[in-house]
């Protein structure tokens, strides 16, 4: 594979302004061939605008966008080799399911028998056999979503763009569709660019996640890297839960930094650049354990403030001597001492492994 065709979409210094508002700010982004890339962020972070610029519905104010090796700036949506699954599906209400799916092929001039065949195959792929003659309004939300997916997939685009496609579905269906989407993506091997504000969706399906904030990408990495080694407090807070403690680096030795925080000192592993000055230390709640005593490193005494039943797990919010709180998510029937019996006011001891603390820029 040559260098030129390694990426399906490339953003170079792309900025998009709406009036005085900067929606996308000097963005660089490479979408690899065949990957499932999620643009994750809260509303107004520029993720949808970025997607619409790939689709061709918006043109960048400055910068360049390459789709494959072709400059896409100024190319209208109908001449781009990308297709979109819209947030509310945008199915044509006056056409049957089959005609909806065959619509794009008809625009391409594919002859009738052939486009029927291919539309049928696309409907089979999303498990919608037998619904060809229905109108979109006669289908459930989940089925409409599948029609929208089939309608875009039948075009065999270079890149498939998905704009929060699961947003309108209920919880269980969302879960099922995540599995389904991933299966389809692997089956057809098309590059997916997926816009969502739901970190769970992004984590479960993506090969890489681009966490966006204020028109910029905060971090672009594999889901587990984004989770384990967030590049900033924003990313750490956006993906999963995170206890953060403000502190000052006292020293670094042997790959471990010692940080003074309000509740004492915390040791955090360092990779790469040596930190100094004010930092934030983050610890994931599920890495905090309830232990019997204070014998050993990384242990603190605390008082239970709230106890929340999460099903197979229990969330404990505990206050340390200095008044700061630490959240722990512990398994119910796990090795931790009698967490099932804990009530607010109980004195407990908390611990975390040496590798758990993460250093974040303050």
């Amino acid at each position: 594979m040559s260098v030129e065709t390694e990426f399906d979409v490339r953003f170079r210094g792309v900025t998009k302004r709406f009036g005085g508002v900067v929606a996308v700010d000097d963005l660089d982004l490479d979408v690899r061939k065949g990957e499932f890339l999620s643009l994750l962020g809260s509303s107004g972070c520029g993720k949808t605008t970025s997607l619409r610029m790939i689709a061709g519905f918006e043109q960048p104010t400055s910068g360049s966008i390459l789709i494959g090796d072709d400059d896409a700036v100024g190319v209208p949506p109908y001449r781009r080799d990308v297709n979109t699954v819209f947030q509310h599906y945008a199915l044509f209400p006056h056409m049957t399911v089959l005609d909806n799916v065959a619509y794009g092929l008809k625009q391409r001039g594919v002859e009738k028998a052939e486009r029927r065949k291919r539309a049928q195959a696309a409907l089979d792929l999303v498990h919608l056999e037998g619904r060809e003659g229905r109108k979109p309004r006669e289908l459930s939300g989940g089925q409409q979503q599948r029609v929208a997916l089939a309608r875009a997939l039948v075009m065999e685009p270079r890149v498939l763009l998905l704009d929060e496609p699961l947003g309108a579905l209920d919880q269980q269906l969302r879960k099922d569709m995540q599995v389904e989407l991933k299966r389809i993506q692997q089956e057809v091997g098309i590059t997916f660019v997926y816009v969502t504000h739901d970190q769970g969706e992004a984590m479960s399906m993506s090969d890489r996640i681009a966490v966006m904030c204020n028109g910029k990408i905060e971090q672009l990495d594999a889901p587990e890297v984004v989770y384990d080694r967030p590049s900033s407090a924003f990313v750490a807070g956006f993906i999963g839960e995170m206890n953060t403690m403000a502190g000052t680096v006292r020293g670094v030795s042997g790959g471990v930094a010692t940080i003074d925080v309000a509740s004492g000192t915390v040791a955090a592993p360092v990779d790469g650049v040596h930190p100094s000055g004010d930092v934030l230390v983050g610890i994931r709640p599920e890495k905090v354990r309830v232990v019997a005593d204070l014998d050993g490193p990384n242990r603190v005494a605390a008082t239970v403030v709230t106890r929340l039943q999460l099903g197979s797990q229990i969330q404990l919010v505990a206050e340390m001597a200095d008044g700061t709180t630490l959240t722990a998510v512990v398994p119910r029937a796990g090795t931790d001492a009698d967490v099932d019996d804990l009530v607010p006011g109980d004195h407990i001891h908390l611990s975390w492994s040496a590798s758990a603390p993460i250093l974040l820029a303050a």
Partner: protein, 318 residues
């Protein structure tokens, strides 16, 4: 004379494009006070007498005059100069006279000009409605709608007379531009389009306002050029509004007599002018009534054909 047929317009416009989201369960409201059991529980029930004012109005203003008209059309004009006398009965000769060669030409001329006027109204009005719905900021929309309606605040007669002054080849405006079309069919066409434009623009604007434009994005995304997206998506989905609009202008245009009289200088006889002449000039009420009924029947036939063909197109156009 064509007032009854106007009823068709609003009826058509209510069959709006289906919205992507299912309508909220209206039964929730009706269920609160189940006055009667069974039947369709699709909305709140109202006592039947609430329809009485409308029904009375309808009977007095529409049904009664229509029956009167039929009675007159079947009457015989007494052939005496000693005052107008009618002999009521069952006399079909008035209708036979309507379809005599002379009046048939007037019918054809009327429908040609009304059809031309409707077409011209569509060509002027659709882009205007489209521009209003898509390119005017939501803050200014009410203002633009108001501007479209403002001409209605002045008498139709005065506005038509104003066109006579504007188009007069000896007048200041047309004279300066070297235009001399007053008392031609062109002047009538201009008058028709001007007079009926708002009646077309408003329903079409309303249906374009309801349009879900992400569908057009969807079509473009699938490779449709803007023109094809317009033809295959926007047009079919706004068809109810366009149908309502064309009917709302075609029907009264076909019954028009002020515009052809003032701007056509009496050289272009409309069937409306004939009717007016029979009632006011010739004082032949039975014949005037027969012409009115013929006009109504022909217009009704047109409307039925139009609606049926439009619905058929919707079914097979998919």
């Amino acid at each position: 004379m064509s007032t009854p047929d106007l009823q068709t317009g609003p009826d058509v416009s209510t069959t709006s494009a289906p919205s992507p989201t299912p309508p909220p369960p209206a039964a929730a409201v009706g269920g609160a006070k189940p006055r009667r059991r069974g039947g369709k529980a699709t909305g709140p029930r109202y006592p039947a007498w609430l329809a009485a004012p409308l029904l009375t109005y309808y009977l007095v203003i529409f049904v009664a005059p229509l029956l009167l008209l039929v009675a007159f059309a079947l009457a015989t004009q007494a052939d005496s100069f000693a005052g107008e006398q009618y002999a009521f009965g069952f006399n079909l000769s008035n209708f036979e006279a309507v379809f005599d060669g002379l009046y048939l030409d007037v019918f054809v001329q009327t429908f040609l000009l009304a059809a031309g006027g409707t077409l011209a109204t569509v060509l002027v009005g659709f882009p205007l409605a489209y521009w209003m719905a898509r390119h005017v900021s939501s803050k200014r929309k009410m203002l633009v709608v108001l501007l479209v309606m403002i001409p209605f605040w002045t008498s139709f007669l005065i506005r038509t007379f104003a066109w006579k002054l504007i188009l007069d080849g000896n007048g200041a405006f047309a004279g300066a531009l070297g235009i001399d079309i007053l008392y031609t069919w062109k002047a009538i066409l201009i008058g028709l389009v001007y007079g009926y434009l708002p009646l077309f623009v408003l329903p079409v604007y309303a249906s374009l306002e309801r349009m879900d434009w992400t569908l057009v994005d969807g079509a473009k995304d699938l490779g449709a050029t803007p023109w094809r997206a317009f033809r295959q998506i926007t047009l079919p989905l706004t068809r109810p509004g366009i149908m309502a609009g064309t009917l709302l202008v075609f029907i009264p245009m076909a019954g028009e007599y002020v515009i052809p009289q003032m701007l056509g200088g009496g050289r272009f006889l409309f069937i409306g002018s004939v009717i007016q002449g029979q009632f006011i000039g010739a004082s032949n009420w039975p014949f005037g009534s027969a012409v009115s009924i013929a006009l109504m029947l022909i217009l009704s036939a047109f409307v039925v054909l139009y609606v049926v063909s439009a619905l058929k197109e919707e079914q097979f156009g998919e």
